[in-house]
């Protein structure tokens, strides 16, 4: 697949041996990887369509080592790509030919569990689920739960501002992170936030969450933990049309209910999940909706009574309420394995991640079906209905010439549609390289320049993860003085991808 990345710096490529030697002076032994065979493990992340061997990989153990590595790289103008568990679905950790990958896998310890202040301090390589595991015994959990939570790292979660199925009620990563230690490209170690709330001055945590590894390397994260609700119960609802399911969602919100989770699957996704797991999903309906309530028993009963009433009012042909924990988990099992389930009915699939205003769902699904026919590719839809985050899975076969390109064109068309109806390009997977060139669909030249100036304040040479997020590689000096007039591009000579 062709993807334009910043042109490799020939002098850096030529100095590879010296750079590797320099890294070895900082991290001894197996902490520096430079042989081709071992580097292959780092050539891509969860977006496997794009691959690139890095110059070298370094696996530090301490913040001081990270600081020295970044300082060394800056001195020698070497680009740096930080990597957590490598589960990004947008190519956020895609290496550069002339860049060093800083892998945080050895930062794998939980440093402190503080039940009194309800926080956990963890190194960035700790997995998302390991945080919940560390506090489960005391009745707590960490709320954001991306579907890759057994593998993805908390540092990567911060970099991508990861979501999950409970965002409407409990927020994304950014709403649950209280502190971060970050090393800048200068090798400076900065601490933001921590155990006190709302540090004065600019909201650094707000910009670091979701900055896709472009502002600094995260070496410590403090998150808030929550007491686990006493009860969680779910409703499994089946509807004769996508419209009636969509209206049910709107009516639930309209009734003042914020469910803990609200997930929709279309017919194809439901069929795939049922075929895979036999969890008892209704097959004669056009849309399945799972609505979860949590809290005390009285809360769950009240919410599910109302949800049942609203669902019937919208013509639901199937209404089932979980009677015990096993049944609740069964309702979810199909949804949670929707991706692998779709993987079984198609050789390959391409997962999209736009967000739309909830009310636009029916319209978007109809337009998507038209596109599906035009591109000759099937599409299955799973939808975080509570927060409007849509995951169309485009089914294709990479071995058939032209299908991958068609899948990508189809995907780009879906994302343009999301923006057209008032939504956004990405809800939780990040821009990375995948949606980079679509950014102008949503933002003007001035908007993007303003974001890039923020990056310049952290990384004036543009050495951290260049080629991600922004479709145009501006030099900071240009951004500093340029005024863009009427949205016209002032420097047509600058590299554009």
């Amino acid at each position: 697949m062709s993807l334009r990345m910043p042109a490799p710096d020939a002098s850096v490529l030529a100095a590879r041996a010296q750079i590797v030697a320099g890294l070895r002076r900082i991290v001894a032994g197996e902490g520096v990887i430079d042989d081709g065979e071992s580097l292959v493990a780092y050539e891509s992340d969860g977006l496997t369509a794009y691959r690139q061997l890095p110059l070298a990989v370094v696996l530090p153990r301490t913040t001081a080592q990270v600081a020295q590595i970044l300082k060394f790289c800056r001195q020698h103008a070497v680009k740096v790509v930080a990597r957590g568990a490598g589960t990004s679905l947008s190519g956020g950790a895609l290496p550069l030919q002339d860049g060093v990958v800083v892998g945080l896998s050895r930062f794998n310890r939980i440093l402190e569990v503080d039940f009194d202040n309800r926080v956990v301090v963890a190194q960035p390589g700790v997995t998302n689920l390991a945080i919940t595991d560390a506090v489960r015994g005391q009745g707590f959990y960490y709320a954001p739960d991306p579907s890759s939570q057994i593998a993805c790292s908390i540092g990567g979660n911060v970099a991508e501002n990861s979501g999950g199925v409970h965002c409407l009620k409990y927020g994304l990563t950014t709403n649950n992170v209280l502190g971060v230690e970050l090393v800048t490209m200068d090798g400076e170690i900065l601490r933001f936030g921590g155990r006190t709330l709302d540090a004065p001055g600019y909201d650094w945590l707000g910009v670091i969450n979701g900055s896709e590894g472009m502002l600094g390397v995260i070496t410590e994260v403090t998150v808030r933990i929550l007491p686990r609700p006493q009860v969680a119960r779910a409703a499994l609802l089946g509807f004769p049309s996508v419209e009636s399911a969509g209206q049910c969602v709107a009516d639930i919100i309209g009734a003042g209910i914020i469910p803990a989770g609200m997930e929709m699957m279309d017919r194809l996704a439901t069929l795939a999940a049922e075929e895979f797991l036999h969890v008892g999903y209704p097959l004669e309906v056009e849309a399945v909706l799972i609505v979860e309530a949590d809290g005390v028993a009285g809360e769950c009963n009240h919410v599910l009574d109302r949800v049942t009433e609203i669902a019937r009012g919208n013509g639901a042909s199937v209404v089932r309420l979980s009677r015990n924990e096993d049944e609740r988990l069964q309702f979810w099992a199909g949804r949670k394995s929707a991706f692998p389930a779709v993987g079984r009915i198609s050789p390959d699939y391409y997962c999209m991640d736009g967000t739309i205003p909830r009310g636009q769902l029916a319209k978007v699904l109809h337009r998507m079906n038209e596109m599906s026919e035009r591109h000759g590719l099937r599409v299955a839809n799973v939808f975080h209905a509570g927060d409007g985050n849509l995951h169309p899975l485009i089914l294709y076969d990479a071995n058939q010439p032209g299908q991958l390109e068609r899948a990508e064109a189809f995907g780009a068309e879906i994302l343009r549609l999301c923006v057209e109806v008032g939504g956004v390009l990405t809800g939780e997977h990040g821009v990375g390289v995948e949606k980079r060139d679509l950014m102008p669909e949503m933002f003007g030249e001035i908007d993007l320049a303003q974001m890039q100036r923020l990056k310049c304040a952290f990384d004036p040479e543009g050495l951290l993860n260049p080629g991600k997020v922004f479709p145009t590689l501006h030099r900071c000096a240009e951004l500093g003085r340029v005024h863009v007039h009427g949205g016209r591009l002032p420097h047509p000579d600058l590299p554009r991808f």
């Binding site: 202040n117 900065l190 004065p200 650094w204 933002f443 100036r453």
Partner: protein, 396 residues
């Protein structure tokens, strides 16, 4: 002192023109919403004009089913909250009215001012801060350019989250012109459990234990008289059940009583607006502390003086009133020791120069602030708001 009449742009283009003209004339602008927080801003010189958002008002889009509201930044907060209330919704971060605190009556808080300061009310403990509710915006940067960021959906990671950078920036980076906020359903019912006065450290420990229970306590405060207050909100059946569980779970069955509905709401509005200290206390601090260090830190400054402090956010936010000026300078030292920070909200004239409003920032972060500010406002048209430390000598 500010020079000449205030500017009142009526649309975003006029606002952008005003900023560009100020930059060309090497003069400065101070963004003013309702003007309720004016006393918190650094002194300005004769080269500064006020730019009022009072003509940038009105709702541009309200979609209750989408839980989203877009308004122009000069819209009064009261208007926004009334509009939301009509549809059974609210701004969950509980924006305070500090007009009484700052003695700036009859000014009216605007939505832009709420976002600029980034200060939330008691429900911040459970619903998140102001920054967690701004989904997107349109603004004029200090460069005089109109730009946008974010969107109108809650789940959005498209580009850097500049919305969060705007909240709490006190108008030093850009003039917000239109904002899109996340709104939430207003709870059907509420109740507050009031526990008889305890020593402060015992009261705060009780609040922390309550927050660790799976009962969704939405607000938790220790009032100046030593009573602990715990708020429950939601559907009636849910509130009732949680209230039944709460006192026994905390082991305070007898020394507690509950207040309901309007009476409960009134109590929390008083906490939100810091009413106990609205009138007299000459010196008032807003401290952010780890809850576990709050009682000790306050005692180290004012001793065990009753009635000097209001502890909100389960002890993580302290409003500290001081009558004598003798200890004023110790406050920041003690708060720093505990890993917190202190805003000086009110002080007698004679003390103001010695006690800057905003907490000082560590040098590397102040330098980073400078660089970020430069990217948004390279000609320093918008000033430093309350952040004197951004101008610390030898920085930037």
């Amino acid at each position: 002192m500010t020079s000449s009449a205030a500017l009142r742009p009526v649309n975003v283009q006029e606002a952008a023109d005003a900023v560009r003209e100020a930059a060309a004339a090497k003069s400065m602008l101070r963004i003013v919403g309702g003007g309720t927080r004016r006393p918190l801003m650094c002194a300005s010189d004769g080269n500064t004009r006020e730019l009022h958002s009072s003509a940038l008002t009105g709702v541009t889009r309200y979609e209750p089913e989408e839980l989203v509201l877009s308004v122009r930044a000069g819209t009064p907060l009261d208007f926004v909250e009334d509009l939301l209330a009509e549809r059974g919704q609210m701004l969950a971060f509980d924006p305070p009215r500090h007009v009484h605190l700052h003695g700036t009556l009859p000014a009216r808080t605007t939505i832009g001012g709420v976002l600029g300061s980034g200060w939330a009310g008691p429900r911040r403990l459970s619903a998140g801060n102001v920054r967690d509710h701004l989904l997107g915006f349109e603004a004029v940067s200090g460069r005089g350019e109109v730009f946008r960021a974010g969107g109108r959906v809650i789940k959005n990671v498209t580009g850097y989250d500049l919305s969060k950078l705007m909240v709490g920036s006190w108008g030093t980076l850009a003039l917000l012109t239109e904002v899109t906020l996340r709104v939430l359903p207003r709870p059907q019912h509420e109740a507050t459990l009031l526990v008889d006065p305890l020593e402060v450290d015992a009261a705060l420990a009780l609040l922390r234990r309550a927050m660790a229970l799976p009962l969704e306590v939405s607000c938790a405060a220790c009032l100046p008289d030593g009573r602990a207050a715990l708020r429950l909100e939601g559907f009636r059946a849910s509130v009732d059940e949680r209230l039944r569980q709460l006192a026994p779970a905390l082991g305070v069955p007898r020394a507690a009583r509950a207040i309901l509905a309007d009476e409960s709401a009134a109590l929390w509005n008083a906490v939100r607006d810091v009413q106990p200290f609205a009138a007299d206390a000459p010196l008032l601090w807003r401290l952010s502390l780890p809850s576990t260090a709050a009682a000790r830190t306050v005692a180290s400054v004012v001793g065990t003086q009753v009635g000097a402090a209001l502890f909100d956010w389960a002890g993580a936010l302290v409003w500290l009133a001081m009558s004598a000026e003798a200890d004023a300078e110790r406050v920041r030292a003690k708060v720093d020791e505990a890993g917190g920070h202190a805003w000086r909200v009110r002080a007698p004239e004679a003390l103001r120069a010695r006690l800057p409003v905003a907490p000082p920032q560590p040098a590397p972060i102040a330098a980073l602030s400078r660089r970020v500010k430069q990217g948004f406002d390279p000609f320093d048209v918008l000033g430093d708001g309350p952040f004197t430390s951004m101008n610390a000598p030898g920085i930037g």
